[in-house]
């Protein structure tokens, strides 16, 4: 029961931090390298959380949120990864890859939320014309919806991972878990090389 409560609190906390990711502040407190150890600390596995968080950040640095691009969400990836390990009971490596998948799929939800807000514009303009516009209420609604949806998404995904974990151990997925261990141990090098090539391209660009 306590572990479920911890997962719920972690999801809500991650939903709150998600606001920093796009809508409010953008101080980077939603960065996976911080979210990982924070949620790990909440769930009793800070070192594993830190590893999942930093590796997620290294991988997701490849995506830049310019213009209307909706990149995969690093915060969701780190949160699902940590909860997949702490709550779902998956091996750290497998939880990490499921987290990456969750962050990738979350971009679709984010896209739909942005489309939803587009439908508000005509109403907002009408209110601005007749002087009844309360923009702060609209923005508060936008923040609340995003935060709640993110928290809900992370919590549901964590439950799914708990089911996958139970099924995986029953069905003897040991080889797959070991395979993910090997792939996971190579992720730091993939991330570091991405970082290196990014800056070397910038420096040597004519």
């Amino acid at each position: 029961m306590i572990i479920v409560l911890k997962a719920l609190i972690s999801s809500l906390f991650a939903g709150l931090l998600q606001l920093d990711n796009v809508q409010a502040g953008q101080f980077l407190i939603s960065r996976p390298a911080l979210v990982g150890p924070a949620l790990g600390w909440l769930n009793g596995c800070p070192a594993e959380g830190a590893k999942i968080g930093l590796l997620t950040e290294l991988i997701y640095l490849d995506f830049i949120p310019v213009g209307g691009v909706v990149p995969p969400c690093g915060l969701v990836a780190a949160a699902v990864g940590v909860l997949g390990f702490a709550f779902g009971g998956l091996p750290e490596s497998t939880a990490f890859f499921f987290g990456i998948l969750a962050g990738f799929l979350y971009a679709n939800l984010e896209y739909r939320l942005r489309v939803l807000r587009s439908s508000w514009i005509s109403g907002i303009e009408a209110q601005a014309k007749d002087g009844t516009l309360r923009l702060e209420r609209r923005l508060a609604g936008s923040l609340l919806i995003e935060s709640a949806m993110t928290g809900f998404y992370i919590f549901i995904f964590s439950w799914l991972l708990a089911l996958v974990s139970g099924f995986g151990f029953c069905a003897g997925f040991g080889a797959l878990f070991r395979a993910s261990d090997l792939a996971y141990s190579l992720m730091p090098w993939l991330g570091l090389s991405g970082l290196y090539f990014r800056f070397s391209t910038q420096v040597y660009k004519k």
């Binding site: 796009v22 830190a50 516009l133």
Partner: protein, 298 residues
């Protein structure tokens, strides 16, 4: 240009320079991306941020509503650079309030707003997303590296560092990044207001090309140091207990991953492509050959 003052619409434009409206605009600018939508992008955030200044500039509700409506149009820039645009547009709104009904000036205001938003978006993307953000990740790695936490490199490492180390890494990067982000917002607002009305206003506030180049070089030096340090650690961790053949295999595996990343980038594919190949090969190795527990590091 002579400007005719219309006392019905102007509520002491000079007041907009006083501390209250600009400070309120500054704090509201942190919500510039709130309500981001595909139809008008950051329009809701921009209208929200500029509202305190518009309230001070326009006394009549009609003029105020028209001004808010004007800023509900399409707008998009790099969020940390929005101060430059806001300051400039506040100044232009003051000028517009002195000459109400000047359609040409209103058109110019919209044009300047769009021009500045594009210019600063380009600079901001390069400074923040392209350079500063990855540098904060490098800072985090550097702190963990120096504090002796290598779990991020050797994923099987069971060492449990203190909370100070775990949180110190990411927070160090956040402090540096946050300083730049807040400083540029505030300075942008001030400088934008000071030179308001000019299409390239604030673009010369800093030597951007030089800053961008320096950040690139800093990032590159950091990257190179981290990669070399990681190779050093890999060798140091494996030399005592491993045979030369085993160490050579591990180094080869790492070099293969780096080469894969290089090729993936060259062909314009995302890092997920390289990750997919690594996962697929790992699964194939373990399902076909089933080599037992095989953890290449530690």
């Amino acid at each position: 240009m002579s400007i005719e003052l219309n006392k019905d619409q102007v509520n002491d434009p000079g007041l907009a320079t006083s501390r209250l409206p600009l400070t309120a605009v500054f704090f509201r600018s942190f919500l510039i991306q709130a309500g981001w939508n595909y139809e008008r992008l950051q329009n809701l955030g921009f209208a929200f941020a500029i509202t305190p200044a518009l309230r001070r500039i326009y006394a009549s509700n009609k003029a105020f509503n028209a001004a808010v409506l004007r800023h509900l149009g399409l707008f998009n820039t790099q969020p940390y650079m929005v101060g430059f645009v806001l300051g400039n547009i506040i100044k232009m709104e003051e000028d517009l309030a002195r000459a109400p009904g000047n359609a040409e000036f209103e058109k110019k205001l919209i044009g300047v707003k769009q021009a500045l938003s594009s210019g600063f978006a380009s600079i901001g993307d390069r400074v923040f997303w392209g350079r500063l953000k990855p540098i904060t990740t490098q800072l985090c790695i550097a702190v963990w590296f120096l504090a002796g936490f290598y779990g991020w490199l050797f994923t099987g490492d069971g060492y449990r560092p203190s909370a100070l180390v775990l949180f110190g890494g990411p927070l160090a990067g956040i402090a540096v990044y946050g300083f730049f982000a807040v400083y540029l917002r505030w300075i942008g607002l001030k400088k934008g207001y000071a030179c308001g009305g000019i299409a390239n206003c604030g673009l010369d506030a800093m030597r951007w090309p030089e800053l961008i180049r320096r950040l690139s070089v800093t990032g590159f030096v950091f990257s190179l140091s981290i990669v070399l340090g990681a190779f050093g650690l890999l060798i140091a961790h494996n030399l005592p207990g491993e045979s030369k053949g085993s160490l050579a295999m591990k180094l080869t595996l790492v070099l293969c991953v780096m080469a894969l990343q290089r090729v993936t980038r060259k062909f314009g594919r995302s890092i997920f492509f390289a990750m997919g190949i690594i996962v697929a090969v790992s699964v194939a190795v373990f399902t076909v050959f089933n080599p037992g527990k095989f953890n290449i590091y530690l």
